[in-house]
Amino acid sequence: MSPMKILTSGTTAIAQLSPGIDLELSFNQTMQSLGMSPEISHILWLPLPMLLVLTAALIGVLVTVWLERKVSAAAQQRIGPEYAGALGVLQPMADGLKLLVKEDVIPARADGLLFTLGPVLVLVPVILSWLIVPFGQNLLISNVGIGIFLWISLSSIQPIGLLMSGYASNNKYSLLGGLRAAAQSISYEIPLALSVLAVVMMSNSLSTVDIVAQQNGAGLLSWNIWRQPVGFLIFWICALAECERLPFDLPEAEEELVAGYQTEYAGMKFALFYLGSYINLVLSAILVSVLYLGGWGFPIPVEWLANWLDLSTNAPLVQVITGSIGIVMTVLKAYLLVFLAILLRWTTPRVRIDQLLDLGWKFLLPISLVNLLFTASLKLAFPVAFGG
């Protein structure tokens, strides 16, 4: 067996060694061959992945809104949107256009500045978090070392925006909604961070790329969900609570608070909240798949398939196919989870505020602490399986 064969036989280390497609490198080389300085080509490169990911996030929202309408219709034995495009796929576009041309109302007794700033503060951290979403070995905006920790800290900014809009609306329902949103967000952040910490402990790195690479040694069997089943459930529950999805949509409980902190909002400002919540849902689903379901990995490692077909993993065609499989797998896993979240929304009743806080503080927090301790002891006992 040649050394090359050993290298490509698909262990965890290989995933980090094989360069995969590096679009940035090839873009820079092309630009420099056209006679540009490295700095200029770098500056030209910078906005491209950002715009691409922003577009991807927005399209993701449109798809999710359409899914939400269709799945809710199916759950209630209706047809749902039907006439706007085939199967109503253009309905979310129509929604967006409607919101875009609606009048921008600021209530007379509201605080204009904070009222405008609130939705922006809700949306911007969510979009910034897409920085760390990996679609492949090199297919992410920035492989920052603190990776998943950046997402946790960015998502903690959101409650400030919610409190701000709740306060600025000068409306008791808005204020109560904002306070509830902040309380919920603070309570569920802790078990969320602790379950992420257990995964980080196994992969010895905060970077999302390393977390996925560590799971793709043996395909489906090496996904974190088998090693962290409790952590997976905790993370999913907390992610739903952070996204304010039913059964945890107390901040905007219609029967009690009209629409919570969004009550006074209309037009594009309301659309910012709407966008923020859906981008956050897609982002959370992607991060669940990154942390527990092997991210961009195919259930059978692509290296094994390539070996079996006698192809080199460095061949251009194989790399393009690997990259496309990575993107498709990430999106597929994420949308399976989004589908699950939508089904949950249309089939479960809302919890009460005391039940919500009890669940967060008295159940999820101790369980996630025990999970962390258990992971640490398993890591010491079986360093092979738990990333020694």
Partner: protein, 200 residues
């Protein structure tokens, strides 16, 4: 001057002016809600300064702890109370303002003096960048173990104190000494809800 250094310089200028103007606003604005929101902005700008120093872990921790926890709790407290009452005029407010201004100016003068007299090493030590997470962990569990644990004990004490203050079912007599507890200290305990039920 390359593009990256000039960008850094511009970022530094913007961030430090946000920090200075923002913290002045925190102190001087009459509306406490604005002050609290501005405080969040100042914390964010400080996190930006950490990022410029290539300390991304510290920056993220700053955002998580100060913006996500401290500032949100401050806002929470302000909004839960949310009283729109006029405060009583304080006697000699002008004199008090002058005094506190003088104290602050003295502190500033002291800091400026330290700044000018200390022989700063230029350029400073190289940033360790991504390694920082590991190094911080090492320090926390070796030479900074005692302060770290003491801080956690302090937080635990504060938490227990907060729980005792917030609970309404207060016992009438002190468990340790048996003396009656001064109920005026506890705002909402005029009618103790939980009286020792086992004796009845």
């Amino acid at each position: 001057m390359t593009i990256s250094t000039s960008t850094e310089l511009i970022c530094f200028g913007v961030l430090s002016s946000i920090v200075i103007l923002g913290s002045l606003g925190v102190v001087l604005l009459p509306n406490i809600v604005y002050s609290a929101f501005l405080l969040g902005g100042v914390f964010m700008a400080v996190a930006g300064l950490y990022l410029l120093l290539n300390a991304s872990f510290v920056a993220a921790a700053q955002v998580l702890v100060y913006v996500g926890a401290v500032n949100v709790l401050i806002l929470f407290a302000i909004m839960l109370v949310n009283k729109q009452e006029e405060l009583k005029p304080i006697k000699g407010l002008r004199l008090r303002k002058i005094f506190s201004g003088a104290v602050c100016a003295g502190l500033l003068a002291l800091l400026i003096r330290v700044d000018f007299t200390t022989p700063w090493v230029l350029p400073g030590p190289n940033a360790i960048g991504e390694e920082a997470t590991i190094r911080i962990g090492e320090h926390l569990f070796t030479d900074y173990l005692l302060p770290f644990e003491l801080a956690s004990v302090l937080l635990l004490m504060a938490m227990i104190g907060a729980i005792v203050l917030a609970r309404r079912d207060v016992l009438i007599s002190d468990i340790g000494t048996g003396n009656s507890v001064d109920q005026a200290l506890i705002e909402k305990s005029k009618t103790p809800l939980l009286i020792d039920k086992s004796s009845q």
